[in-house]
């Protein structure tokens, strides 16, 4: 009888491990699956033959889909490094050949035909001599804009942006509501008129992704709006990006320099205090890095 109870106790322990393993650790696996679209591979160059001495080179190439004739920007360790342009089908490909073997952080983002930006995707890479590293299958999610910052309940909100030509854009306004689908045109431009009559009085942050066949882009969220008692147009202000201290639409070395200047000083401007707590500290830098665009 006692043995039976002992057995059930250890089974309980085992159950807790399995339960925790499944429900706690699974989100991390899911995160990894989100980037499964992107393939990272390496090809080592063969050793030189005969008397011809080849200078070994380190090559890194990126390819994927963005926006028709959109700008693709590559940052190296947070600073601008290269840019290219997608073709009319939104495909892009770029090879970087002037790199030294080392560990680097490469970031890539796209800008559509209306200067709207995609989220930034980061890759911490170990680049080796005589090795070509290829990152393919990048699929930048749709850009997002809304025409109103606040909308009177019952009016229609225009959600628009750009993606790949004929891509099917899925729009999720709230996880409890059904999603909406809209097809992009030949230029990848999409728009959806959202009826707000069924929405609650609160702030919504749309989440969008594009599907082409069986391939899905990662998600992009943005264009938040409030369903309220009045309608206000969406106007981009300096505060649109919290860490954009010099209001140039980018978060880069200039903003970092401003923040660093106020480190350990007392009479700092309120706008510099990014985490809202006392003093300019590493926590403020953490907030700034989250919004870093290079």
């Amino acid at each position: 009888m006692v043995e039976k109870r002992k057995f059930s106790f250890f089974r309980l322990i085992l159950g807790i491990w399995i339960f925790t393993g499944f429900f706690v650790l699974t989100p991390f696996s899911a995160k990894a699956q989100l980037s499964d679209l992107v393939s990272i591979s390496a090809t080592a160059l063969p050793p030189p033959r005969g008397s011809v001495i080849l200078i070994p080179s380190t090559v890194l190439s990126f390819s994927g889909r963005a926006y028709p004739e959109g700008r693709i920007v590559i940052l190296k360790n947070g600073q601008f490094f290269a840019e290219t342009k997608a073709n009319r089908k939104a495909d892009f490909s770029v090879s970087l050949t002037t790199l030294e073997p080392n560990n680097y952080k490469f970031s890539i983002y796209g800008e559509d035909n209306f200067q709207r930006r995609s989220p930034t995707f980061n890759f911490d890479l170990i680049l080796k001599r005589s090795v070509t590293t290829t990152i393919s299958g990048i699929f930048l999610p749709p850009t997002i804009e809304v025409d109103k910052r606040e909308i009177l309940k019952g009016e229609k909100l225009r959600i628009f942006g750009q993606t790949v030509p004929f891509g099917l854009v899925t729009i999720v306004i709230d996880p409890t509501l059904p999603s909406y689908k809209v097809s992009a045109d030949t230029n990848g431009i999409y728009q959806y008129f959202l009826d707000t009559i069924e929405l609650d009085f609160k702030t919504y942050v749309p989440i969008l992704k594009t599907t082409v066949g069986v391939v899905e882009s990662p998600e992009n969220s943005g264009g938040d709006f409030i369903v309220g008692q009045k309608t206000r147009s969406a106007i981009k202000t300096c505060e649109s990006i919290p860490a954009d201290l010099n209001c140039d639409g980018r978060v880069n070395l200039i903003d970092f320099s401003i923040l660093l200047f106020w480190h350990k000083k007392t009479n700092f401007p309120a706008r510099v205090n990014l985490d809202g707590y006392n003093g300019i500290s590493l926590a403020d830098l953490s907030v700034m890095i989250y919004y870093w665009s290079g």
């Binding site: 925790t20 991390f28 390496a42 320099s257 953490s286 907030v287 989250y290």
Partner: protein, 305 residues
């Protein structure tokens, strides 16, 4: 028995499955040294479960056994430094951001396995025999969530033994490459230097790391500089040069014309205006000449009559 079960249950729930955001630890090729020998210690961070974007720590070392020599950040994930490693008695303090966040390095030959990143390589020299350890105190990591949230950090010390004196192998820093080209940005903001123009810059060097910067405005002298640097010539009429020097003495000079693209666009307007004036002048001149020619023709006709 019941108590043991409860304790085991608590340990299972809150102990065994505790997941830290990051682990900070030391890595060395060996742990046994002789007096006078150089000790190279890499400070590593791994963060497989959550993305982090800032970290800080104090490295404590037994100064009766070892002497701090230098640090190298040539293969560091620490970009940008918030406080570069600085020595205070037997404590080296640093804090840094990790632009783009960090959850592990990707080796393209094994992309599924994320590897720990190096924050910095610290170099010490053994000075006395004994047993000691490098320790990490006041360590903190921040999550890449845009809120400045502190993550949980586990740290581990590293023990070492220093034996009798040996003739140390000479380590020579092999770096003959200059720092990589870098951006020099000129801007002004009401949030800094009373809205005066300043330069911001940050270079990288894959060989030995950046040692220092110098700046030169126009025909002036090379002056030691740190970013952000308040420009002396606020009229922005001189060319600005920033020199980054690595720890092996290699240099990279970047030159920037203070005229921004915004200014250049104004310049285009000015040029377009001048062109317009010139065209109007040409047109008027042409009309004047036409009228003159008509008059001449009329006079000529009249004189013929």
């Amino acid at each position: 028995m019941r108590k043991i079960k409860i304790i085991t249950l608590i340990l299972v729930l809150f102990g065994g499955l505790r997941i830290y955001a990051a682990d900070m630890y030391f890595a060395t090729p060996k742990t046994s040294y002789g007096v006078n020998e150089e000790i190279q210690v890499a400070l590593r961070i791994s963060s497989p479960n959550e993305k982090i974007n800032a970290l800080e720590a104090d490295i404590i070392f037994p100064d009766e056994l070892v002497k701090f020599v230098d640090f190298y950040d040539n293969n560091s994930i620490a970009i940008p430094w918030w406080e570069r490693p600085a020595l205070n008695e037997n404590v080296i303090h640093f804090s840094t951001g990790i632009v783009g966040g960090f959850d592990g390095l990707i080796d393209p030959f094994e992309p599924e396995k994320k590897k720990a990143g190096t924050v910095a390589n610290f170099v010490f020299r053994a000075k006395n025999e004994g047993v000691g350890s490098f320790e990490i105190e006041n360590g903190a990591v921040y999550l890449h969530d845009g809120k400045g949230t502190l993550g949980e950090l586990s740290t581990a010390p590293l023990s070492f033994i220093i034996g009798p004196a040996i003739t140390p192998a000479e380590y020579k820093l092999l770096d003959d490459r200059p720092p990589e080209p870098f951006e020099v940005l000129i801007d002004h903001s009401e949030l800094i230097f009373d809205n005066q123009y300043f330069a911001a810059f940050q270079a990288e060097d894959s060989g030995s790391g950046i040692a220092f910067y110098k700046i030169k405005e126009g025909g002036g002298l090379w002056l030691p500089a740190e970013s952000p640097y308040l420009l002396r010539n606020q009229k922005l009429t001189s060319v600005i040069k920033v020199k980054a020097v690595d720890k092996a003495g290699n240099e990279r000079v970047m030159t920037v014309s203070p005229l921004t693209s915004k200014d250049l666009s104004y310049l285009w307007y000015v040029l377009a205006g001048l062109l317009l004036i010139f065209l109007v002048h040409l047109l008027l001149d042409h009309r004047r000449k036409t009228v003159y020619n008509v008059n001449v023709y009329e006079q000529h006709t009249r004189s013929k009559k």
